[in-house]
């Protein structure tokens, strides 16, 4: 089963980290990624929701500034993991939590997965 791990946290806090704080968290997360290399697909870190634009899919699509929904915590990125079941997915999320506390991870099964086919 494949799962997407969605990263939520308060972007005001996260994007106020100093360069050192930011590098420290990213460094710890890189270690986890390395450890779980064979289970991990691509991952992404997203810019703050203030940089987001939404296309509302009405018959005449409307472009709206901002994220799809405003909440206190924002989607800051996601992981794609390939593990046996929800328990294993939760275990991965726990390991990520230890490296980067605060906020939450949403674990949601993936119905369609399209791998990156670019040749680098």
């Amino acid at each position: 089963m494949q799962y997407a791990i969605l990263c939520y946290n308060d972007e005001d806090v996260v994007w106020s980290w100093t360069q050192e704080e930011d590098a420290a968290v990213m460094g710890r997360l890189a270690v986890v990624r390395e450890r779980l290399a064979e289970k991990m697909g691509p991952s992404a870190r997203l810019l703050p929701t203030t940089a987001a634009t939404t296309l509302r899919k009405s018959p005449e699509p409307v472009v709206i500034d901002g994220p799809f929904a405003e909440t206190k915590e924002q989607l800051l990125g996601f992981y794609v993991i390939d593990v046996e079941n929800l328990d294993a997915a939760l275990d991965v999320a726990r390991q990520l939590t230890a490296a980067n506390p605060g906020g939450a991870y949403e674990i949601r099964p993936i119905a369609l997965y399209l791998p990156d086919k670019r040749v680098t």
Binding site: S16, T18, E21, V25, L47, A51, T53, E70, K72, P101
Partner: protein, 412 residues
């Protein structure tokens, strides 16, 4: 990151909204501030032991409000509830409050706080001091150091600002559209002024963090006005300029000009965000001064080498800025692009009419000197550089011009 660092980050992040909400309850800045302070202290005690609450902002508002009410009750000689009991029934109340926070109050509370700090009756220096104290939560000592004044003087400046607000008409209702637009402009101007205070100081320990505070505030403003292209532009401008910080000074603390900077040291994370924001702003087709300046900064950011800079693009943008906001300083900046495109002679001709209005402006004489050097008019260049040194605002600026002078002496 340690738990404590995370808690501090969460408290700072929650501060504008929490103080805004407490101000709505108590309608008094000092009470709101003290209530928040008390809540923050309790958070530092409670969160490491019990884990962080689901919604730190709601927790801080609730605990702050209860603490302040408790204080008011004590003043009124009533028996107060023991504080532990209050905290123990917090969970349900917090959940209800968290739900309400997602609603419309958030925007109005934070906006009111920003508008109060940028009250039109306050001079700019007081607006900045108040915003740093109330919204950013810097200590009076930190603010005093950043503005190179004594702590007592800064304390007085903030007290005076608060007193003036207390006597002025402070609207607790959301302002109408026109007033809102005007006051939004004042908030944006205050934030950019604050940014420039930090920017001119570079990596100075006391003043440098002002840039970070300004960026924090502009993000807050952008969150409230997600569809305002000028706010996107202001945020982009500040991010793109701040990205260059690690490359702007040499080890001796002297200024390195844009074209001599090691561009690999620019902070790509900030550049990516700045470029995304200006890109988004331009789609609105409502150009404004912040957007144009951000677009100029974006051109510099996109050039991997100084010689790749699109000077024609920069010249066109400055021309647009001149039309929108005519100012001798804008023309002076445009002259730098003109010098790249059409030579120093043309640039000198462009700035000659500005001399009287910019007779006290360091950068005018610095630029004039540089153009004269390019034309080989060394004696005149030396005179211009001497004037620049006399007008320098910081030791780094003076040292920078002195290096030019030394080079001239070496060449002669």
């Amino acid at each position: 990151m340690t738990d404590l660092a995370w808690i501090n980050g969460a408290i700072t992040g929650a501060r504008p909204q929490a103080i805004g909400a407490l101000l709505r309850y108590f309608r008094d800045l000092d009470t709101a501030e003290e209530a928040f302070q008390e809540a923050a202290l309790r958070a530092l005690k409670s969160w490491p032991a019990n884990g962080p609450p689901r919604n730190p902002t709601a927790w801080l508002i609730l605990v702050g409000r209860n603490a302040a009410l408790d204080g008011l009750r004590k003043q009124a000689k009533h028996t107060a509830l023991p504080p532990d009991q209050e905290i123990s029934d917090l969970d349900d109340a917090e959940a209800t409050l968290a739900e309400r926070l997602d609603g419309s109050h958030y925007r109005d509370d934070v906006l009111r706080l920003l508008f109060i700090c940028c009250h039109p009756e306050l001079p700019a220096t007081q607006q900045i001091a108040l915003a740093l104290r109330i919204i950013s939560g810097l200590s009076v000592a930190q603010i005093a150091r950043a503005f190179l004044v004594g702590e007592a003087a800064m304390e007085q400046r903030i007290t005076r600002a608060k007193a003036r607000i207390a006597t002025a008409e402070v609207p607790f209702e959301a302002p109408g559209a026109v007033e809102r637009a005007e006051r939004l402009g004042a908030v944006a101007a205050m934030i950019y002024l604050l940014f420039n205070e930090g920017y001119s100081a570079g990596e100075d320990e006391a003043r440098g963090p002002l840039c970070d505070e300004a960026i924090r505030l502009v993000r807050l403003l952008l969150r409230l006005f997600q569809t305002e292209p000028e706010i996107m532009g202001l945020a982009a401008l500040m991010l793109l300029q701040h990205a260059r910080l690690p490359a702007r000074f040499d080890v001796a603390g002297e200024v390195i000009l844009l074209e001599d900077q090691d561009r690999t040291r620019w902070q790509s994370k900030l550049i990516v965000e700045g470029l995304a924001l200006i890109d988004k702003a331009i789609r609105h087709n409502q150009p404004g001064p912040y957007q144009i300046q951000a677009a100029i900064a974006a051109i510099h950011s996109r050039a991997t080498r100084a010689e790749d800079t699109d000077w024609a693009g920069i010249d066109a943008l400055y021309a647009a800025l001149e039309r929108l906001q005519p100012s001798p300083v804008v023309t002076l900046n445009r002259a730098v692009a003109t010098a790249k495109l059409h030579g120093a002679e043309a640039a000198l001709g462009m700035i000659a009419p500005l001399e009287q209005r910019l007779s006290g402006y360091f950068h005018y004489f610095g630029a004039r000197g540089a153009f004269l050097v390019q034309l080989g008019r060394i004696a005149e260049a030396r005179t211009a550089f001497d004037r620049a040194i006399a007008l320098a605002n910081t030791p780094a600026e003076a040292a920078h011009i002195r290096r030019y002078l030394d080079r001239l002496t070496g060449a002669a």
